[in-house]
């Protein structure tokens, strides 16, 4: 099934104003922002939508109180949408919404939407670094550091669920929706990608007791590690609370930086994720500090040595 990846995530929250401000400061482009919520887009139009927790248009919340109300996947075309409606319609209700999308539940009870993808084609400038001996360098008299650089998250990358049964959850996405397993933390769950992307993962699962079902984090891809570090520094300077990073994961190779959020989930910046095709053989190991990351830094205040003894 030609599912491209997540187009959007919809949250029903307690503090709409805080979430609106948070996602704007994170760097997304705000659209239609009001006391009722708003839509916050990356460069390609993929988005996070904020609504009031009691908004009647939202699918019901999980009994655990998780604020994620819907994960909306973008698919390649109308034929794919029909294929999904037919497949999932065999054993569950599939609603057809006025906007042409379909809505249903996965086997864990997470609400899913599918729509012909709204993502726009991207035209990104390559990040070129100067490396002695490299065939391509940034070039003579081309400046790398830009204090005031305009940095916008590029595209919605992935979401991570806490699930009460990682094997059942994996089976649903693999057998019913054609996701592939990229790698696996045996004690947590699989890194999954749908057929329409090469990204290492657009979905990861963490096995937890049932009362913890919900969302660990979501993230947008940044253009490159430099943008990730600079955006994260700006975000922390605005008072937002870093949770983990910046660092670099091993499975997926993506750079990461996680923050707390008023949606009650972690929000990550990621960059430079590995790409895989179906020739890739999944790796598996138990998760641990050293299996999870190559390095993990903590940002400190800007500083310089010296004073004026020279």
């Amino acid at each position: 099934m030609n599912i491209l990846g997540p187009d959007g995530l919809v949250f029903g929250v307690d503090n709409v104003a805080a979430c609106n401000q948070y996602l704007t400061d994170y760097g997304l482009i705000p659209r239609d922002v009001s006391a009722q919520g708003g839509r916050f887009e990356g460069l390609d139009g993929t988005y996070v939508e904020i609504r009031r927790a009691d908004d009647p248009s939202l699918p019901p919340a999980l009994p655990t109180g998780s604020t994620l109300r819907k994960t909306i996947y973008g698919v390649a075309d109308a034929a794919t949408l029909e294929q999904i409606a037919e497949e999932l319609g065999r054993d569950r209700e599939v609603k057809r919404l006025d906007d042409g999308s379909i809505e249903t539940l996965d086997d864990m009870g997470f609400a899913l939407g599918f729509q012909v993808s709204i993502r726009r084609p991207l035209e990104a400038a390559d990040e070129i670094v100067n490396c002695p001996g490299a065939r391509q360098n940034r070039g003579v008299n081309v400046i790398g550091a830009a204090v005031d650089k305009d940095i916008v998250p590029v595209t919605l990358s992935h979401v991570v669920y806490f699930v009460p049964d990682q094997h059942k959850a994996e089976a649903f996405y693999v057998e019913r929706l054609g996701f592939r397993v990229a790698d696996r933390f045996t004690n947590l769950g699989p890194f999954l990608r749908p057929a329409g992307t090469l990204d290492h993962h657009t979905l990861f699962m963490v096995h937890t007791p049932p009362h913890m079902q919900g969302v660990e984090h979501f993230t947008f891809h940044m253009a490159n590690p430099s943008d990730l570090l600079q955006a994260g520094k700006r975000f922390q300077d605005k008072g937002y609370e870093s949770f983990w990073g910046p660092g670099r994961h091993i499975f997926g190779s993506n750079w990461f930086w996680y923050f707390n959020s008023p949606m009650g989930v972690h929000v990550e910046y990621d960059a430079d994720m590995d790409l895989h095709d179906d020739s890739w053989e999944p790796r598996a190991c138990e998760s641990s500090e050293d299996a999870s990351q190559i390095f993990n830094f903590t940002l400190v205040d800007n500083w310089m040595p010296g004073g004026d003894p020279h």
């Binding site: 307690d14 503090n15 104003a17 805080a18 948070y22 655990t64 109180g65 998780s66 604020t67 806490f162 937890t208 009362h211 913890m212 919900g214 969302v215 660990e216 605005k238 008072g239 937002y240 609370e241 870093s242 949770f243 923050f259 707390n260 959020s261 008023p262 949606m263 009650g264 989930v265 972690h266 903590t298 400190v300």
Partner: protein, 118 residues
């Protein structure tokens, strides 16, 4: 250890403190009138024990300021008892710290020697 003046915390609000300069808040207090509730900034979420809780500096409460909320995974805690009332920390609670409002209208933290050293 001196933390701040009572008037530095608007009534009903929370404030975080990093008195030892560890880089993130070690504790936070919630003010209700002249009542002060002081808690270690450490979520008890299994697997995330000790995680910092606010989403932004000093922001430890929900929008109505009726509950403490962890901005990691949304656990709600009772302001007065510290017990988790909703979310992944069910059955667990926050660690209370000894912060007193004294006659000079200032808040002081009395660390429990040997226990609360970072």
């Amino acid at each position: 250890m001196h933390l701040c003046a009572l008037r530095d915390i608007p009534d009903g609000h929370s404030r975080g403190f990093d008195p030892r300069g560890g880089g993130r808040d070690y504790l936070f207090v919630v003010r209700r009138g002249r009542q002060i509730y002081a808690w270690r900034n450490a979520c008890p979420h299994p697997g995330y024990e000790g995680a910092s809780m606010p989403w932004r500096k000093h922001e430890y409460l929900d929008s109505e300021r009726t509950h403490i909320v962890c901005a990691g995974h949304g656990a709600l805690f009772d302001v007065e008892s510290g017990e988790c009332t909703m979310g992944p920390c069910r059955g667990l609670g926050l660690k209370a710290l000894n912060v007193r409002l004294e006659g000079d209208e200032q808040l002081y933290w009395y660390p429990d020697a040997g226990v609360e050293e970072q």
